[in-house]
């Protein structure tokens, strides 16, 4: 029997009453020893008997049709097994939570870098050679590859826009500034890869994916199979950041070839193919207009954006997502202009919305602080709304104020000097800050917990993409069942197990964690029954069950394994409350006055995200997010050739993800918080909260250091030099 639970009302804080004391503790990741010894097996790393090797071939035109593929030169190679394309081939990875195949364009080409065929051979080296020998005949059509030529679809609430315009006219202070952000790539360290293996009409796919419950549906749909005919295994995933939310083209390519060849096929993308083929974050142009009264209280806010997408793809970056509720202001408007271009389609990249939206919004707030003559922290404190400023919905646990105060004290914000007031040799030193917010969500998730003696097993198809799922799911079960964490084993990443939320949108921990909590809670009831006691009179600790004056060892009490399955879904609380994690970033930079180089010297983040399930893995998540913010602010830029649509910075030498030397030691503090509206474990997501506003804190520090405001990001040295020169510096 499955426990079905809807989050309709606040739940008791059971995890504060259980006595094991492992929840929240900074425990090591249980899979750590496998990872540090090279024994964790990622998607491309299973060796199957008779496995053949595939290499994807990508389009060298931006738009048109593949008329013919001539592989006669490949046939000269010993070990060449063939070339596959056709109706089932995927144009691009599925968007997150699609649950159905993405566009299968047949011979049509919609962007440069689109996978159009897979070449398979006995060895990787032969397949790679064969792929280069293909002669592909295209019929080419005119394509829009230059943003200046794109046609835009506009979404705007005219009444709201008018209200903002009126408020701006009468405001004591106003900001009207336009910011640009570059296209970003997730660039997970593990390139996308799949191994397809058929057993009769059953397909097993080993792949690098984030959301298996959805991915199985996508695979079945793409291959024309029933859901029951596919199984996906992703026990270890080498980073995702959104790029592995949806089934990828290499999975279907491997599945097609494997079926025809009657042997397993592995297809791994090259790093360049990952950049060309996998969904990217769109470049954006953002216009921020803020109106404030003489005391710096916002009266109006408009956060407009222009972005790009391939025709036929529904996703749009929710650029103003956090701007909708983070600060007060009666008049609010959010215009979106979505331009259609024949470039690699856009999709979810870590913190869609906030990652670029708050880069601009928090920079605009800094500009407003200057205009009003207020400290940037004080400006934000004055603008914390009492309820969602757009809808009036009440907030659940709301930690922004506490984060701002804690972060400022920890960082030493009171030592911040005025613009261009600190200099050390050729280095200009400055401090900046920003607020952070990332909405919390609950997505249907199911898990089974089995207790055999004093050992428990958690089973769910949840993935661990580096997020800490193995750790936190074990800890939740251990806390609820009164076991040391090492007595719990989590089995994840297999679609034969109960279907989880998957890893995405920062909802994984709260959603899948709650399903484990509920299943373990059911087991507590079963244990209480075995003890002949009421559940609320039961204490479980260190493998002992106590009720009244009876104490039994679980190892003795649980003669036969007992199991429970539970599923959670969102309910009334999602309507009655607006839920979000909050934070505050503080940064010190040094800007070289002559070379334009920017060095991040210090960084402190304080976050309030409900219950922190594992203080160690949550900290790493926040550090990771902050570093993504540093990258977006300073180095990351996916450049396309406007003439051809070709991604130019399509490798890790030219797309600059931050390296060790770009990242100082980073301070992360979590405030004690419980969000009773979020879920029964009172936890909110932290995977994307760290990015929100982090880059703005860096750029606001640059403005403080130099006295010059940069609005085109990343703030690479050439842009810094140009901005300083334009200001006569």
């Amino acid at each position: 029997m499955t426990v079905n639970f809807r989050m309709d009302a606040p739940q008791p804080r059971l995890l504060d009453q259980t006595g094991q004391g492992v929840i929240h503790k900074p425990l090591d990741r249980p899979e750590g020893p496998l990872k540090v010894s090279g024994r964790a097996t990622y998607a491309a790393e299973t060796h199957l008997p008779g496995m053949a090797h595939g290499v994807l071939v990508t389009a060298s035109i931006a738009r048109g049709h593949v008329e013919a593929i001539d592989d006669s030169a490949a046939h000269e190679l010993e070990g060449y097994l063939g070339c596959w394309n056709g109706e089932r081939f995927l144009r691009n990875p599925a968007q997150g939570m699609a649950g159905a195949a993405p566009v299968q364009p047949g011979d049509r080409v919609d962007f440069r870098g689109q996978p159009i065929a897979v070449v398979v051979a006995e060895t990787f080296e032969t397949a790679r050679d064969a792929a280069r020998r293909l002669r592909i005949l295209y019929s080419e059509e005119d394509a829009v590859t230059d943003p200046a030529e794109a046609e835009f679809e506009t979404k705007e609430d005219a009444d709201a826009a008018r209200a903002v315009a009126e408020a701006l006219e009468t405001a004591a202070h106003r900001i009207d500034a336009t910011y640009t952000t570059a296209s970003h790539a997730a660039a997970a360290m593990e390139p996308h890869a799949s191994i397809a293996e058929w057993n009769g009409d059953q397909l097993t796919l080993r792949s690098a994916l984030q959301m298996l419950r959805f991915n199985a549906l996508e695979l079945a749909d793409a291959m024309g199979l029933e859901r029951g005919q596919v199984r996906i295994l992703s026990p270890y995933v080498g980073g995702g950041f959104g790029s592995k939310l949806g089934l990828g083209p290499e999975a279907v390519a491997a599945s097609m070839a494997a079926r025809d060849l009657g042997r397993p096929v592995r297809v791994a993308m090259t790093r360049q193919q990952v950049f060309e083929t996998v969904l990217r974050r769109s470049e954006t142009v953002q216009r921020l207009r803020l109106a404030a009264d003489s005391g710096g209280r916002l009266t109006a806010l408009a956060h407009d954006n222009r972005q790009f997408q391939l025709l036929g793809e529904g996703f749009a970056e929710p650029v103003p997502q956090a701007s909708r509720f983070l600060y007060a202001g009666a008049a609010r408007s959010y215009r979106q202009d979505l331009g259609r271009m024949h470039r690699t389609p856009s999709g979810s990249v870590r913190a869609p919305g906030e990652a670029v939206g708050q880069l601009a919004m928090e920079a605009a707030m800094d500009e407003l602080a200057d205009a009003v003559g207020l400290d940037p922290v004080e400006l934000r404190l004055r603008n914390i709304p009492d309820a969602h400023p757009g809808t009036g919905t009440r907030f659940s646990a709301h930690g922004l104020e506490a984060c701002l105060i804690d972060g400022a004290a920890r960082f030493g914000w009171d030592r911040r000097a005025g613009p261009r007031a600190r200099q050390e040799g050729d280095w200009l030193i400055g401090m900046g800050m920003a607020g952070a917010a990332r909405p919390n969500m609950l997505v249907p998730s199911e898990a089974r917990v089995t207790l055999a003696g004093d050992r428990a097993t958690v089973e769910t198809d949840m993935t661990d993409i580096g997020t800490g799922s193995y750790a936190i799911l074990s800890q939740i079960a251990a806390e609820m069942l009164g076991l040391p964490a090492e007595n719990v084993t989590a089995r994840l990443g297999d679609t034969d197990l109960p279907g989880a939320s998957g890893s995405g949108g920062s909802f994984g921990a709260g959603s899948s964690g709650s399903s484990v909590f509920l299943a373990a809670k059911d087991l507590r009831g079963q244990i209480a029954a075995l003890m002949g006691a009421a559940e609320d009179g039961l204490t479980l600790k260190d493998g002992l069950a106590r009720a009244g004056n009876v104490e039994k060892r679980l190892a003795d009490l649980i003669a036969e394994p007992i199991a429970a399955t539970a599923k959670i879904e969102k309910g009334e609380m999602a309507k009655e409350t607006h839920q979000s994690g909050y934070g505050a970033h503080f940064c010190e930079v040094a800007v070289h006055a002559l070379t334009g180089e920017i060095r991040v010297r210090r960084f402190e983040g304080t976050f309030a995200a409900g219950r922190i399930l594992n203080e160690k893995t949550a900290r790493s998540q926040c550090i990771g997010g902050i570093v993504w913010g540093i990258g977006a602010a300073l180095t990351e830029e996916l450049v396309h050739d406007a003439r051809t649509g070709q991604p130019v910075t399509r490798d890790l030498a030219s797309y600059h993800v931050p390296a060790h030397a770009d990242v100082p030691q980073i301070g992360v503090t979590f405030l004690q918080e419980r969000d009773d509206a979020a879920n029964p474990i009172q936890a909110k997501g932290v995977g994307e909260l760290g990015i929100s506003g982090a880059g703005a804190a860096v750029l606001n520090a640059v403005a403080n250091a130099t006295g010059v405001r940069l609005r085109d990001y990343p703030a690479t040295p050439d842009r810094v030099i140009a901005a300083l020169a334009a200001a006569g510096l």
């Binding site: 790393e45 360290m189 270890y236 080498g238 791994a268 570093v627 490798d651 890790l652 990242v663 030691q665």
Partner: protein, 176 residues
Amino acid sequence: MQITLTVNGETRDMDLDPRVTLLDALRDHLRLTGSKKGCDHGQCGACTVLMDGRRVNACLVLAAMAEGAEITTVEGLGRPGSLNPLQQEFVACDGFQCGYCTPGQIMSATGMLAEARDGWPSHVSESLAGPVALTDGEIAERMSGNLCRCAAYPGIRQAISNCAGTSAEAAKEAAE
């Protein structure tokens, strides 16, 4: 072609296509998948192994070029239950998240600690001669060939620093 490598102390004879890289020889032919393929172009460091004691990007070395060489991969450092001190520190300091760059970070750090012990200066060293003080900045500079998109950098450097201290003390004790 016939190639003989010594990998983690074991002699391995292989019959390989001359185009096979050291990385693919390890991963696909010897099934030592601890060394990771992150870019196949020497840009990310996930494939870092030690070749005759020095760190190299295994994707930039053809297996044939490693004929006769002693190769150490992450599998050769320790296994679950008997991790070496650096591996243990990576776990304790959460010097990884997804784990994909981790073997490369650990192998690179192993090579780097030896370079520092041998007095090799870096771009940020105060002096070109004399002992190297492994400050956070020194470690960051010397480890910047190993990318980590999860950005576990602070934990990675803490783990290395903890081991650098240990190995420095051990060296000092040995000298005394």
